[in-house]
Symmetry: C2
Subunit: 509 residues, 2 copies
């Protein structure tokens, strides 16, 4: 039987349109009418709150302290690190006035309120946090200094796509200062590993952690690491980055410390961040033709109870039964937290509600009608296995007590199933056997390519530019050099020189 799916478009037919449809049909976000900015609606924001909560616990467990730094950065702060300026100057919102005035009934910036020094809306906060660190750090005793902030940032984007690339987005940015390179590099890799683990366990989203090639480095960084996730269309999404910044930012902001011997030293700094972009990744990794499938750990509601009401005498008993069920579930724990069980009392039809929650990706939807109450049962729908082989939705009638007792295990099972599917898809779509550019062309010219991991001589400067240009002509990019790649053998497929490592190539968001 052909399944009639809940979304108006399938992944197969038009992946980009499908992505927008999931966001719209799951009420996650929408265009705001403000250029490049989105409105994040309760279900989308609820997912972000879950990401914040779980990530913040990891950040704090690493001894990092949360602070808050100004939204505005004076141009003079920004000018100090040359590479950094070059990287961001083209995409910044600039505040030039501090007052409006009414002229012929229209509001205009008051010319008398022009700022002597324009302020940029932070695209990232290395410069302003560097200024603070230069005040806070005096001696080796103050190191390492580990700070983080949860904030909004703005990068003016010409082409935007919800969650993936918006002019304003929400993120956390960790900023740390260390006595030497070794300590800073350890922190850079600790943050990277924190992101890898978070992505794979909390988001059920497998990633490849590795170092970005020189051309993909953060402006001003000495080394940039990323986690890369594979979307269902085979493209890569950079889902988090961690940077070793060397002493460049410390020099620009004068972050120095007195070492044990009494002499002044520059600090080595790092920065690392993940953003609302992760939500776009979750959609494109786990979504299906019926909408989002939300990993239980980040689902605002893990279990949704839908009472089937008939506007008759039975309704009261159904509602009371549902409340008991909710209470029973709230008393259970999954993933070390109380289960989040929601009773949907909105005044719409039960079937409309059911499909609404399917599209939102609530991990488990439970329906309760008069017959269930009479039998002490519930009707359970798992979002990760929506259909039976015959194409009908796979609802199971289960004894209520048994369902409550098993709910936590079922949620853990759903999280594991989502990860397992995504991991199998990732592993199946990394091609490691390509040994020349002709092979690369064949691979990416064929149907449904994923990524190619190829021998790489790590060229720099003009030689690297040539490779990047060649790839660009094919809409390909260098993703990262996986930390866990096998040792390189043979020749670099681009330069012919002896390979020193292996690099991932793919299309990307």
């Amino acid at each position: 039987m052909a399944i009639k799916h809940a979304l108006p478009v399938t992944r197969e037919k038009d992946f980009a349109a499908w992505y927008q449809a999931v966001i719209a049909e799951a009420d996650m976000a929408e265009e705001s009418g403000v250029r490049g900015c989105m409105v994040i609606r309760p279900w989308g924001y609820g997912i972000w709150e879950r990401i914040q909560k779980l990530m913040d616990a990891r950040v704090k467990a690493a001894g990092v302290e949360n602070c808050y730094f100004p939204l505005f950065i004076p141009l003079s702060f920004f000018e100090k690190e040359a590479d950094h300026v070059d990287g961001f100057a083209k995409e910044m919102a600039v505040v030039t006035h501090h007052r409006l005035r009414s002229v012929e009934g229209k509001l205009v910036p008051d010319p008398d309120s022009r700022l002597e020094e324009p302020l940029v809306v932070r695209p990232t906060s290395e410069t302003v946090i560097g200024q603070a660190m230069s005040r806070w750090i005096q001696s080796w005793r103050d190191l390492p200094m580990l700070t983080n902030q949860w904030a909004n940032v703005v990068r003016w984007e010409m082409r935007t796509r919800m969650f993936l690339r918006t002019s304003e987005f929400l993120w956390q940015e960790g900023h740390t200062a260390h006595a030497d390179r070794a300590d800073a590099m350890e922190e850079t890799l600790r943050a990277l590993e924190m992101y890898r683990d978070f992505s794979e366990t909390a988001l059920a989203m497998p990633v490849v952690a590795g170092e970005k090639p020189e051309n993909e480095r953060f402006p001003g960084a000495v080394a940039t690491y990323s986690i890369e996730a594979m979307m269902q269309d085979g493209k890569a999404l950079q889902a988090g980055t961690s940077h070793y910044l060397g002493t460049g930012f410390a020099e620009a902001a004068n972050i120095k410390y007195q070492d044990r011997e009494g002499s002044q030293q520059l600090c080595h700094t790092t920065s690392w961040g993940v953003s609302t972009r992760m939500i776009g990744g979750v959609i494109m990794v786990h979504g299906d033709d019926d909408g989002l499938r939300c990993p239980p750990q980040i689902a605002p509601h893990q279990i949704v109870i839908v009472p089937m009401l008939r506007d008759n005498d039975e309704d009261e008993a159904v509602i009371a039964y549902c409340r008991d069920l909710q209470k029973g579930l709230l008393g259970q724990s999954a993933f070390g937290e109380p289960i989040r069980a929601h009773l949907d009392m909105k005044g719409t039809k039960a079937s409309t509600k059911r499909w609404g929650w399917v599209k939102k990706g609530a991990p488990i939807v439970v329906e309760v009608g008069g017959r269930d109450v009479a039998g002490g049962n519930v009707s359970v729908l798992r979002r990760d296995r929506l259909y039976r082989e015959d194409g009908k939705t796979d609802s199971a009638i289960v004894a209520r007590e048994a369902f409550v007792a098993d709910a936590a295990a079922m949620l853990v099972g759903i999280e594991a199933a989502l990860y397992g599917q995504a991991k199998a898809a990732l592993d199946a779509r990394i091609e490691r056997g390509i040994i020349d550019t002709a092979g690369l062309d064949t691979y990416f010219g064929a149907d449904k390519p994923g990524w190619a991991e190829v021998p790489w001589a790590k060229p720099t400067g003009a030689a690297l530019d040539k490779v990047v240009e060649w790839l660009k002509g094919r809409k390909l990019t260098l993703r990262n050099v996986p930390l866990d790649a096998a040792a390189a053998t043979g020749a670099c497929i681009f330069t012919g020189e002896p390979a020193v490592e292996r690099v991932l190539v793919g299309r990307s968001y």
Copy 2:
């Protein structure tokens, strides 16, 4: 014995300087070098995180859903509500360009990147959220619509003071839409009561809830309510506001719904918010000449353990003992949450640490030395009663097991003591017997005035302006008309007309 206090200045000597000293010595915040913006340091931000957590739970419990709306608001959105524009146009940061360009080595806004329509950095979000609500609301079934966001906002301020008045600040803003006036007014007062209860229970800060007079209304509001807290210098701090907006914003943004009879109606909207300003209130209500006294419910660390180490063989046993103590405390609950116990392992002297935590206002500081370990004891210092009658710090040696068992009760006792002191101070400083302006002059001309609650005829327009001017000459303002004030009798002390209510007059922040 004269006590030598931890701060360089006392409240008595210079209250304003004392306030800045608390913030500096407790490492709560500092000037950022960016005009009017502060850096919130870990202890200050930790307090804000606690406020967020406890307030967010109340917001969610009321059925309000969190969203996120754009930082930028196009001028055209803003122009639609005339009173609103008038109220904010003078204090807004305006983005006019989206790119920088290097000219002779200096960065300047690129003239080619001038925006066709300037964007204001949100001073508040009624206009942009109204646009969204007009899309989301179609029928009476969609009402009430209850949304909230946690965000940064910017109001360009000429004179700033940390936490109390900064150009950028952090807050939550609730925005709701309703079918009629009664429902909207109920929500306005629900939010006000939520703030009153939060302030009094979580912050231990007694407040007076009431309606603001016309001249103090939020720009565009039909009615504005506030909670007012009394600082130790007798001044009032408006610590939260809730507005009934009538249908003005709904008209401007076209927020309409189809009622049960099928005809189109304008929604009635509300908005309500509290901000980082609350932290300034906590400092000025609970602080003393040794620094902040942080209410246990919002203290990032409720109990701080300071090991007294001597760089000898005993240290290991002291540290192990402290870790056991911390573990024991973390297993206890206070205020329905696990106790937040911190072990301070920094490499500084124990006495420096102790005074550092006293200045930060950690509710309980526990010191542990070799002798305590031998005796199974701990040395306990309660921040709310720091000194004995003889002027020495009031440390008590207590058996460790007994301390762990009593810790939750002690924290509850500290919270109650802080509230009790503040409540007594507030009650003692509201003068209710003044019947004419001469009496008002006498009261506010004398030593240490608080507030005066006086009969009030509720004048409007020019008559109100006259009163406000008269008060302004004395640096006085109308605070609010307390909801729980006694019935008015006699004549309004300003207009001589029959009083209809009683209004609070005072100096304010």
